[in-house]
Amino acid sequence: MRRSDRQRPRDVLCASDAWISFLRGYGPVNRVGSMFAETIRERADDYGVEPLHFEHPKLEQLLEALDPGAGRMTNIVLTGTAGDGKTSLLNEVWRRLGGDDSRATGKNRDDLLELEVNVAGRPCRVQFIFEFSGFAPSKGEAWPADKLDLMERFVRAVEEPGDEYFIIAANDGKLVQAWDSVPDDSSAKAFSIVIEDLLAADRQSTSGYDLLFLNLSRMRTAEILGHALDCILARREWRCFQEEAADPAYSEDSPLWRNYRIMSDPTFRERLLALADLCDMNGLHVSIREILLLLVNALLGHAGSGEHLMRPDDIRALASTGRAYEAAIYGNLFGANLPAAKQDQYAVFRHLATFRLGQETTNLFDNLLIFGVEDEAFMEDHKRLLADDPLYGDNPHFEMLRRGYVDAEEDRTATDAFVESLANERRRLFFRLGEGDARLDPWRLTVFQSADSYRRWVLAPGRLGRPIEPVVIKTLVCGLNRIWTGMLVGDLDRLYLSTGLDFSSAPISDIFLYEVPLQATLHGDRIEVEFREGLPVLKVSLGRDGRGADFPLHLVRYEFLTRVAGGALPNSFSKECNEDVLAFKSRLLSEYHNLRKEIGGPAAQLSVLAQEARGTLSQKHLSLPL
């Protein structure tokens, strides 16, 4: 069928329905190639809707580096996860450097294009490789001579800038694999080490090379989410809520309207951004495409609709039968509308699942949710936090299951349904709780119970360039002392370096080696939290030359150390973190031994650590040399 022959959605749907249908394509639906840069223009035309668009967070940095008029030009490699916007970004750069509109319209989808650019009076050629994966030979195949030549020219351009430049978008896995397959006798081969180093060490450039290496997987998820929220919420198509309020789909009974209202709410937004920020702080990245997918699923998700995502008629049906709660945003945000296998396909849902929001709880919160309606002790909080919610406070389905549970009906299937429904209520509560009330700390509904203190006492001051409170470091040191010595010590004023007689990682490490006081010493020993590229790092320095070892303080590690200091070993992530903390010990001990060797001097006395009452450590000095 020729394109002009078929009936297009814009011809059969009203404008608002076309908008919703178009938006739905950004969600977790099986439509091959639906929202890729290459095809989006076509779809947008079919629906008569402009695609979702916001300025790519990295565009400014790119244009800064590429300003031919001002004589600025460099080689660029863009890598990242699928959906990070590599191709759109390159299309935009192509246009800004004077390329025609064939890229933006999707007419030209070549992997490789050349552009003549005038760099401050000097004519230069710029080679655009829009999709390196398509350009490079498949795994196991040899490089054709012309492409190999181009790669050798690329390496030359990077090593000795001339009148040819390269701008390349590449999946990083493909980049590594393709460079491996470059023949050994090629002049491009040696560059594979540089690529690996840039990738693995998270660097944007390396000295001696004219190259800007941008890994889009290092973009902050929170930043993308902020842009995406603004972009979706500001669309003029939402006027449908005013102009078509008589249509149930866009009325106040509509789950879409309610979800949209919640998404526009500043408290909700702030909490959602905090979740994204904490994903970043755990080293978890979500691509632009999946952020849009998340938001569209949040608005339109509904387990009972086709592909678990509402079409306009599904919205109408729910709105007219008073079942808006079935499509509430709170469950949708975590993919609860999707089957487990489908959730698992998307990094965004996998990453959000690490918070275990909906599964984690406290007695207080569950009492509030389950008994709050009747129990006077909880009634006031219940009304304020849950019942007074004008949008989803009234949920007859949950109320029925709750009654069944409270009346202890022995129906297994009802129990499962209740647990599922309760999870979504916990999520609703999470987004409605305020900040700063320790009793009702929303982060207690996640596995990261220390998230509030992490945000308040580590991230907030760190981002303002202020020092971290000593009490925070003291807690972390308590956790380290407990794991490193294997003894249940309390809050001490120093970090102990100890070892077992056999292994330094012995479960009980009671041979004392060294101590680093929390108060910086005159020798230069110190324990501090630094910020490096936005991430807090616990740094233990031995001596004045900054020798020592670092421990990046991801949220999960902070949580682990805080919980160990608090006396509990969390099962869910203890193994990974325990290994990490022991490897940190090993690195610090290696530095200690190196320094000791350099300093020389008489052997230290053997001293054995023992735990005393109230969690202090005593040292028993044996008059024996160690």
Partner: protein, 516 residues
Amino acid sequence: MNFLDSENVGALPRGSGAFADVSIWLEEAIFGHRLWYRQTPWLIFLEFLGVADAFARKGALFAPTSPEETTPYDLRFRPTLRNVLFNNDALPRIAAQKRDDPSKWAAWTDEMLKAGAGPAGRLEELQRRFARFDDFAELVALVRQTAIEPGSNRRWSSRFVFPFGVGALFSDATLQMRRDYTVFGRTGELLYLMLTRSSQSERLRRHFETFLDPEQPKNRLVALLGSASDDTPDLPMKGEMFLPYRKHPAFERLASDWLAVLDIGLPDQDGFAHLVPLATLHVMLYQLETAAAVAGAPRPTLVCEMIAPKRELVRQRSIASYYANDALSRQALAAYQAVHVKDCMPNEHDVELEPCEALDDARDFLRRSFSYGPKEEHFGSIEELLAKFEQTAESKLDANCGLVHSAFGRYIGLISRRGTNRNRYAPTDALLKTLVIARVPKRLEFGKFLAEMFEQYGFVFGPVEAKIALDTDSFDETTFERNKERLEARLSSMGMLKRLSDGCAYVLNPFSQATR
């Protein structure tokens, strides 16, 4: 070069006591003297250290060795140290008493003399070294905590401490401090020989010289608990160790793994935690690879299952791979006999010989070449003799050499029965960590890591390697893809893998400073 080429294979001089001591010299000719399936990884390592120390004293640490030379060496019993550590039950009681130090020392010396730990002069030596009796008691307790395999219910003279240095190395012994072989079964000797025949022996020597330096701090500490006479090399070993191959790829792999661990420069002896399982792994792989070559089969591959929550096809592949490998030593034995026994036997139908002369010649041949002298006097024919020979060889294999693969694999956490009643390869977290430390210098792209696991050990985790290792009927892409994903998840949960994006992940060595 094929390691089975005749110029690469040496034979034990027939005058060696080792030859006379065995009931039949066959598996020893193939694998060496000897692999002992009951020797656990730590005991293999301790035996190895003892041998290394003995050669170091001769100034020949990791010096080249050859199959034909059976060099004698001397070990130590260190009776005082062992009595103090393991035959010293009275110590905590005496230390807890409220009396002055001289009377504590006196009481303790009494007890020790009663237990046969004399003479008194050696105990007095100890007394002079410690300012306080409590310091002594505390140090004994500390060192005892490091006992190797403390759970095992052994007599005190077969218990060992962590190898802090030369001062902590001693041989197995009877309660009367006489030679005994039950714990050290010579696999540690083989390990030593393998390393001397790798091209990296010189670099290894430098690492172990440091370890064997008596001035190492922890060694000085443990030496306080022995007497001066402990240092006497009082246990002569006649030199009955034998490894047939001058060169072998397994020796090179072993040496490169050990050097990788040693080069990281972990504190003190932390690296031993990885050298120990790696040594056992490579000895096991040496046996498999040698057996396969003798049997005319390709280098073995080991399909490893990353344990899945539910039953996966890869488990079947792993079980099949295990049982195929487990049969190799038996196949090797049969193939070896076909070439070196049957074809070389004096011919019964030789017209020049009387039948009984031929039988005598055959007996003589088996005695000379294989140290085989059956108790039975009468054999009706050469066939009968040969059948008995084969039967003896097989029972011997079933009682030891044929068990090495499964036993060593279990010791190091490679072979498991978890979730089934059949053995298969399913590496534990601890073993995976050791493999990463040995094969990942700083970081390695995940696909290359899998290729490296295949190249170095024959381990199959992912589809690329499975496709090479398995025939098309047994290969299923998605099964191995999932297996690979589970390995990735495990490494990631142990903090040893960093995913950069959907297309790229790196395996990280947790001890390399540069990775964090």
